[in-house]
Amino acid sequence: MAVTVRIPTPLQRLTQGQGEVSCDGKTVTELLGDLERRYPGIKERICDESGKLRRFVNIFVNEEDIRFLQGDQTAVKDGDEVSIIPAIAGG
């Protein structure tokens, strides 16, 4: 078992159209590292040059915003669901 990562529509191009992928890691940082290994180029869409989460993207572990947990050091475990959610503006 691994962690399920929900990929938002604008990033699914990088995951061969998959809206959900499996990744491994003990923290959000490790998880994003594994995500990048599996789908090269995806991390820079989520994090800036210094590795910090972009200001218009949020990551939720299960339903909780990691900014209000331990940020990118928030622990994840097998079976958790992690959602990457960017701001969208279409109308």
Binding site: R13, E63, I88, G90
Partner: protein, 279 residues
């Protein structure tokens, strides 16, 4: 105010709902809603709000109807192509229910006109198509203490959040800053399915009606994520951020300021080449 015979008949199916009744209907008839954007979200929202008997509806948009709008902007018809969207909405929606007075505001929301328009209405519904307008609407609603229903759609997906300023999370609490132009594609670039804007726009009207009627539980502190491909709705918890630039404990935004970004229609080209960020 008492309901006429025609009104009693027109609204009979919602009047019999115990949560609404004559009292609730009168509340709606006295209420006013400003819809920012007469597009894929604003069109269905305007129809449902007017049909339910919201007495005053302002619709704000500076664009004209194009053929490529019609697959999702369901108020406009072929005859309206080339006409300002707000006049199309005014004409069609008014026909649906003469109880609703529709104000057509053929302008783009700006730092200078936002205070006046936002303060003129009881509730604001944001169905605009660009980040600069969205952050301006959010900031204005917080500064002038107006409930805001925020909805957005792209591709097969959407998002929805109701904001009761200083009581619940605002857009900046969730996404502190808008992306740089081009970092997130708009509908013109990425496409959108009309039924998805219909779902989100209808939910926006639904949230507005609940807030106006003071019934149910508003979609506050929960970001609703619409996954159209799976026909699934998910929620994530959001909360007021004490460090929020506009509604936090030490706000840095104390008056409206414009956010650099071009409008949907011309936001493509150079900005898309930016290698970084969600695309």
């Amino acid at each position: 105010m008492s309901l006429s015979k025609e009104q009693t008949n027109r609204y009979s199916r919602q009047l019999i709902l115990p949560e609404i009744g004559v009292h609730g209907q009168e509340r709606l008839l006295r209420a006013s809603v400003l819809i920012i954007g007469a597009g894929g979200l604003g069109c269905p929202a305007a129809l449902y709000l007017a049909a339910a008997g919201v007495g005053t509806i302002g619709v704000m948009d500076e664009e004209t109807v194009t053929l490529s709008n019609l697959h999702r902007q369901i108020v406009h018809t072929l005859d309206d192509v080339g006409q300002p969207k707000v006049f199309s909405v005014q004409r069609h929606v008014q026909k649906r229910n003469p109880d609703a007075t529709v104000h057509a505001i053929h302008e783009r929301l700006t730092v200078s006109n936002a205070p006046r328009y936002v303060q003129d209405y009881d509730l604001i519904l944001d169905g605009s198509d660009n980040f600069s307008t969205r952050y301006l609407v959010n900031d204005a609603c917080v500064l002038y203490n107006k409930p805001l229903v925020h909805g957005a759609a792209i591709g097969f997906g959407g998002q929805l959040l109701t904001i009761l300023p200083r009581q619940s999370a605002c857009v900046r609490c969730v996404f502190p800053e808008p992306p740089k132009p081009g970092a997130i594609p708009n509908c013109q670039e990425a496409g959108v399915l009309g039924s998805v804007t219909g779902i989100v726009g209808s939910l926006m009207a639904h949230e507005a009606l609940k807030v106006l009627l003071k019934v149910g539980t508003p979609l506050t502190n929960r970001l609703l994520v619409v996954e159209g491909m799976r026909s699934r709705f998910r929620e994530v918890l959001v909360r007021r951020d004490p460090a929020c630039a506009v509604c936090g404990d030490y706000p840095t935004i104390r008056e409206l300021r414009s956010i650099e970004e071009s409008v949907c229609a011309n936001a493509h080209s150079s900005s898309l080449s930016a290698s970084s960020a969600v695309e």
